[in-house]
Amino acid sequence: MKRYWLSIGLYAALALTLLAPMVVAALWSLVDPKGGWFAPDILPRAVSLNHWRAIGLDRSLINSIGLSVLISLAVTALSGLLALPTAYALAKIPFRAKRAVEMFILAPLIVPGLIVGIGIGYLFFRVGLAYSVPGVILAQTIGTLPFMIRILSATLEAVPADLIHAARSLGASPLKVGLHIVAPLAWPGFIAGGMLTFVSSFEEFEKTFIVGAPQVETLTVKLWAVLGGKVMIFPNAAVVTFIVLVPTVLIFFLAERAMRNDGALAAGMGKL
């Protein structure tokens, strides 16, 4: 009985925080400009696909989507590459002041993106990285790195040290231990970290805007432009919102499927 109420509560929370805003956004994207949508109406007077059509005709949107995917892929790869050694050290090598280093690594999560953005925006302007795709990739990586390091180090920590010692004693070099033991056991963490990084890069706005706009127009920057600067144009914004949401939903759907189907993965996660 208790569990029953608990699940009702969880579903209600999910509906309130996720579904309700999405329903409103969906309605806004469908408002017929002739009819409009004003209080106290619960639903728009008329619906049409006008806004979707208008956005769809905008060629620059396709470019923005392509650029966003490209940047997110680059940020994911770069984060993984930079995070791996740090995560390994945190997980497997004992050293002095480990707690302090951990705090330092997580610090970017505490500082608002806007502040980080302004700081690096100025710096990047000085060194010539402003308004460039590499600049945006670097700026976003600053934000995604703490997540990646956290997830990877937690995953690597869960690989028992005895397994690594056993493999070494059986003649495996560190590289072969990584290939034959650590990678097969830790890959769910790598996938999880990669997906989270991809999504948070895809949705990043502040740092991208400060460093890249107006030259580098990712989807979120495009969303800002569509919002119209001084006056908000809800219907247009709602359409772009859904486009931004697509990869997020897709990725988490795929992740959920993968976790359910793969027995080895489930076992791996169970061990974690």
Binding site: A166, L170, K176, G268
Partner: protein, 344 residues
């Protein structure tokens, strides 16, 4: 010759001395147990031999080759862990084959060797299972098979039986011993379990606080321990202080225990509970305070003055004396003295 020689091994962690000047020679085919309480340094010694931990100084040679500076994968040492440490994503056969694959052995030879060692541990038909589908005892046998598949000159066992329940532990202990004899593989076994060490080892190395306390055969260490630590760590014992007067050893309660080997001073005797005799007597010096029936044995706790002694008797004739009984104590003719320097 596949012997192992360890000389002057030392390891400190910050201000803590984990192992201080550890030297040991293990002969070819010998089974040696490192025995001691947790934190005595026995595991650190094992990890230094395996190459998991780097010694501060000291030398390790196996089969005449210096190995202390080699990477673990170059040492060719078989390792078995308390946690089994089987690779969970590989079948039993692939686990056992791992060391051979890393050595680039041809597939045909690997298959033959895997079949051979799995048969040795009675798991011939379990090759395609995953480790999680096996019982703890079976998993540890796979770990053993994996370690001996590479035919190492030295086998290191780190508390391999500690995760198993009592019955299974005895069974696997016997299997382990039989296998070690059959292969004649030089073995170092780390344990905190004295009965395991005594049952398995040719020689036991008793360790405490990072140093070797005493080395000897299980029988020698049990019957004639040189130190109080060994006497008390291997089973139970009664330590009895005795004064030497006129060439005789006198117990604190005045009883003459026997002829003294030296002229004067205070001596310490170690008397095993099974060697201490009790007989009820109205004018006895001892008082039975507790009786425990242990199945095979009966244990009496006896207070004499401020000494608390333990006496055990076994067999059908073993008397059960109720608490409150006054008893006289009898000692074996062949009393064992502890070395003076280590007496309390």
């Amino acid at each position: 010759m596949a012997d192992a020689v360890i000389t002057g091994l030392r390891k400190t962690f910050g201000p803590t001395v984990a192992v201080a000047d550890f030297s040991l020679h293990v002969a070819e085919g010998e089974f040696v147990a490192l025995l001691g309480p947790s934190g005595c340094g026995k595991t650190t010694v094992m990890r230094m031999i395996a190459g998991i931990t780097q010694p501060d100084r000291g030398e390790i040679s196996v089969a005449g080759q210096r190995i202390e500076t080699l990477m673990p994968e170059r040492r060719n040492i078989g390792l078995v862990f308390q946690s089994y440490a089987l690779f969970p994503h590989m079948t039993v056969a692939r686990n056992v084959a791992f060391g051979l694959r890393m050595r680039g052995v041809p597939a045909g030879q690997i298959a033959a060797k895997v079949a051979e060692v799995l048969a040795m541990v009675d798991l011939a038909d379990h090759g395609e299972r995953l480790p999680r589908e096996l019982s703890g005892g079976q998993q540890q046998r796979v770990a053993l098979a994996r370690a001996i598949a590479i035919e190492p000159p030295l086998l290191l066992l780190d508390e391999p039986l500690s995760n198993l329940d009592a019955k299974l532990r005895e069974q696997l202990r016997d299997d382990l011993k039989a296998l070690q004899r059959r292969l004649g593989i030089t073995t170092i076994h780390v344990t905190h379990d004295q009965s395991e060490a005594m049952a398995l080892a040719d020689r036991v190395v008793v360790m405490n606080a990072g140093a070797i306390v005493e080395i000897g055969t299980p029988r020698r260490l049990y019957q004639t321990p040189q130190t109080r630590f060994t006497a008390e760590f291997l089973g139970h014992t009664n330590i009895i202080p005795a004064q030497v007067q006129a060439g005789l050893m006198i117990a604190p309660w005045g009883q003459v225990l026997g002829a003294a080997p030296s002229a004067t001073g205070l001596l310490h005797l170690s008397v095993r509970p099974e060697d201490l005799g009790l007989s009820p007597s109205e004018d006895g010096v001892g008082l039975v305070t507790e009786v425990t029936f242990l199945g095979a044995e009966v244990e009496h706790r006896v207070t004499v003055g401020n000494l608390r002694l333990r006496a055990r008797s076994s067999g059908q004739g073993a008397a059960v004396l109720p608490a409150g009984t006054k008893v006289t104590l009898s000692f074996p003719a062949d009393l064992h003295l502890l070395a003076k320097s280590t007496a309390p």
